[in-house]
């Protein structure tokens, strides 16, 4: 809502206009062409990065390697998340709201997971960190990262080699339960495990 002060100001400015135009008598017509609307921004020719792939019209269809040195690339290749599969033996763990510490009951679950990983030493493991929908997307991405990392650290403390473990945060983007209830949110605040052979 426009404040009273602004209203008064605007109206008295209009009055000021009256006073002045009363002297001017004629339209204050500008001679120049005003603010010519630019053509579509797309009309501006832009350099196409030589490495850019050709996406379908209208958008980003595929990621291209960055132009120049702008790409901050991983130091070592990351395994492809899609290649990891769930196994029934590895149980997920859960977290309190806005927390990333391992609860006592979940430590037992992780002990069992560590035992399985030791006896299946040919498997790499991907730990996914997740959040419930409360909180906000960007913060939850960081929170999910901390949950996955805390889970990883526990497994490492139980003797699993860190170089077998990759973590990924999905934040709140991949809920397993979509109801707006505490029971459902509790299920979504989780770290779960996927494996693939080395």
């Amino acid at each position: 809502m426009v404040t009273r002060a602004a209203q008064v100001t605007m109206l008295s400015l209009l009055l000021a206009g009256l006073v002045i135009t009363g002297c001017a008598k004629r339209p204050a017509t500008t001679a120049s062409t005003a603010a010519a609307p630019a053509p579509a921004p797309s009309a501006a020719p832009a350099p196409v990065p030589p490495s850019a792939s050709a996406p379908s019209s209208g958008g980003a269809a595929a990621a291209a390697p960055a132009a120049g040195a702008a790409a901050a690339a991983p130091q070592t290749p990351r395994p492809v998340p899609k290649e990891f599969m769930a196994v029934a033996a590895l149980k997920e763990v859960h977290f309190d709201f806005d927390k990333y510490d391992i609860r006592a009951e979940d430590a037992k679950t992780l002990d069992a997971n560590a035992a399985w990983l030791k006896s299946n030493a040919d498997n790499l493991v991907l730990i996914e960190g997740h959040c419930d929908e409360r909180g906000t997307n960007e913060y939850n991405l960081a929170l999910g990262e901390r949950r996955a990392k805390a889970t990883m650290n526990y497994l490492v403390s139980q003797g699993i080699q860190a170089n077998r473990i990759t973590i990924i945060s999905y934040g709140e983007e991949r809920p397993v339960c979509n109801e707006k209830t505490e029971a459902c949110w509790a299920k979504n605040r989780r770290a779960n495990f996927l494996v693939k052979p080395r």
């Binding site: 809502m1 426009v2 602004a6 209203q7 008064v8 605007m10 109206l11 008295s12 400015l13 209009l14 009055l15 135009t21 009363g22 339209p27 204050a28 500008t30 120049s32 005003a34 603010a35 010519a36 609307p37 053509p39 579509a40 921004p41 797309s42 501006a44 832009a46 990065p49 850019a52 996406p55 209208g58 958008g59 980003a60 595929a62 990621a63 291209a64 960055a66 132009a67 120049g68 040195a69 702008a70 790409a71 901050a72 690339a73 130091q75 990351r78 998340p81 909180g135 960007e138 913060y139 991405l141 960081a142 990262e145 901390r146 990392k149 990924i168 945060s169 983007e173 991949r174 979509n178």
Partner: protein, 451 residues
């Protein structure tokens, strides 16, 4: 664009009105004379403006501009929060001063304070619109300004409609003439559509019209943020499996997506520096979510935070000297501010659960999201004083983004039962829903004024 030779009158007006909208401004005008009290009877707190159908001076109006421009520009003036558009069916004939006076007389009787009349010169490849403003509070309805606009006639596409852009530019100039600050209609918004697990980014006019997809990778795309030149959008995407940071060019369809950061861990929460040369972002490559500054051209990285807690969601001050961010170093997440080099960290918000800080382009306000059962938008000064809510009692309201005037905000709310994008003024008033699609609409980003 102030290079235009505005007549002396409006140069004076513009100077006189600078700061009218700066919050909260003291009363600096004298009491209005009786005539305005009469005109504003009925409790209106806005300038009532009439925009009759434009008059075609030359050419054939096959595109329907004479009706369309006043309609679009009128809605822009309504959304500006400073104007109320007076409805009326009167048409203005060309070159007929008596008829024009009669039209203004009718609008004045209906409560209009000002009138805007457009004269269209239509050619096959170009359209010129001369817009004349009149003061309807004086019995003689004197003209108070005239401005010319022109646009190239180009093929229409979902992402670009030169007719709407012409109308937006006219509206922005009318806002400038009467308030001293250019309007924000000639801008775009970007936002995320789709449910969890399948989110794509779209671009639309700031009023939600003309939605056009800019990602189509079937993955999860998050956090679009316009660059200061309004030509690119930084965003987080899982398109390569992990949450990496990219940049797309919405107005250059043949230009590919650029990878900005793809380190181990999260690459998220992009925030452009005011000069567009750098991005503040969150990386966990060193073991924990921390804030870094990436120089886009060189790829150089500078780490700003070193703390065992979560540090994320950086947002630059308009001077580029400070960065506000979220940290849970004091328990639940709160808003902090540090210098551009990471020094002198100080806590801005205290008790509560606070995320999504966005520093106002005017510099004096930070908007953020407070979790209080539901989420609501609050503002606070960068010094940590005067926290106050902008929303309450209407579901969740979060993810705010500033318009370039620092006076409007766009945000997401589920008050209708589904996530949609809304805009409002900085005082929390004049809330308007601007998306109506079937899917969830979230994470809006308001562009700078278009080049």
């Amino acid at each position: 664009m102030r290079r235009i030779a505005i007549a002396v009158l409006f140069a004076l007006l513009a100077v006189a009105t600078v700061g009218v909208w700066a919050p909260p401004s003291p009363v600096r005008a004298q009491a209005p004379p009786d005539i305005y009290i009469n005109v504003t009877g009925g409790g209106s707190k806005k300038l009532n403006i009439a925009i009759p159908e434009f008059t075609v001076v030359t050419g054939s109006d096959s595109a329907g501009l004479a009706k369309m421009i006043p309609t679009v520009a009128g809605n822009d003036l309504t959304l500006s929060g400073s104007f109320s558009v007076v409805a009326g069916a009167d048409r203005v004939p060309a070159n007929n001063p008596d008829a024009l006076r009669q039209v203004w007389s009718n609008f004045a009787a209906a409560g209009a304070h000002a009138g805007a009349h457009g004269l269209l010169t239509l050619r096959a490849d170009r359209v010129e619109a001369e817009v004349r403003l009149y003061d309807l509070t004086s019995p003689t309805f004197p003209p108070i300004a005239s401005r010319k606009f022109d646009a190239a006639v180009t093929p229409l596409s979902p992402g670009f409609d030169w007719r709407r852009r012409l109308a937006h530019k006219i509206a922005d100039d009318i806002v400038l003439q009467f308030t001293g600050d250019r309007g924000v209609a000639d801008t775009k918004i970007s936002y995320v559509v789709g449910p969890s697990g399948a989110k794509e980014i779209v671009v639309a006019d700031y009023d939600g019209v003309g939605t056009s997809p800019v990602t189509r990778n079937g993955s999860i795309n998050l956090s679009p943020v316009w660059s200061p030149d309004a030509r690119s959008i930084a965003f987080t995407s899982f398109m390569n499996g992990y949450p990496d940071l990219f940049r797309l060019f919405p107005f250059e369809p043949r230009r590919g997506v650029q990878t900005l950061a793809s380190f181990h861990g999260i690459n998220s929460s992009p925030s452009w520096s005011p000069d567009g040369q750098s991005l503040a972002l969150t990386l966990s490559k060193d073991g924990n979510p921390e804030i870094y500054v990436l120089t886009v051209q060189s790829g150089a990285l500078q780490r700003l935070t070193r703390h065992a807690s979560i540090d994320t969601e950086p947002t630059w001050s308009p001077t580029g000297q400070q960065i506000a961010f979220v940290s849970d170093r004091a328990g639940a997440p709160k808003i902090f501010v540090m210098e551009r080099d990471g020094s002198n960290v100080r806590q801005v918000t205290t008790s509560g659960f606070h995320t999504q800080p966005r520093w106002s382009p005017k510099g004096d306000t930070i908007v953020y999201t407070q979790r209080e059962g539901v989420h609501n938008l609050w503002v606070i000064t960068p010094g940590g004083t005067n926290p106050r809510p902008l929303t309450s009692g209407q579901g969740d309201n979060q993810g705010a983004s500033w318009a370039p005037d620092g006076r409007h905000l766009v945000f997401q709310s589920n008050r209708s039962g589904r996530w949609q994008v809304y805009m409002m003024l900085l005082d929390g008033m004049e809330t308007t829903q601007i998306t109506t699609g079937a899917g969830d609409a979230t994470s809006p980003s308001w562009s700078p004024r278009l080049p």
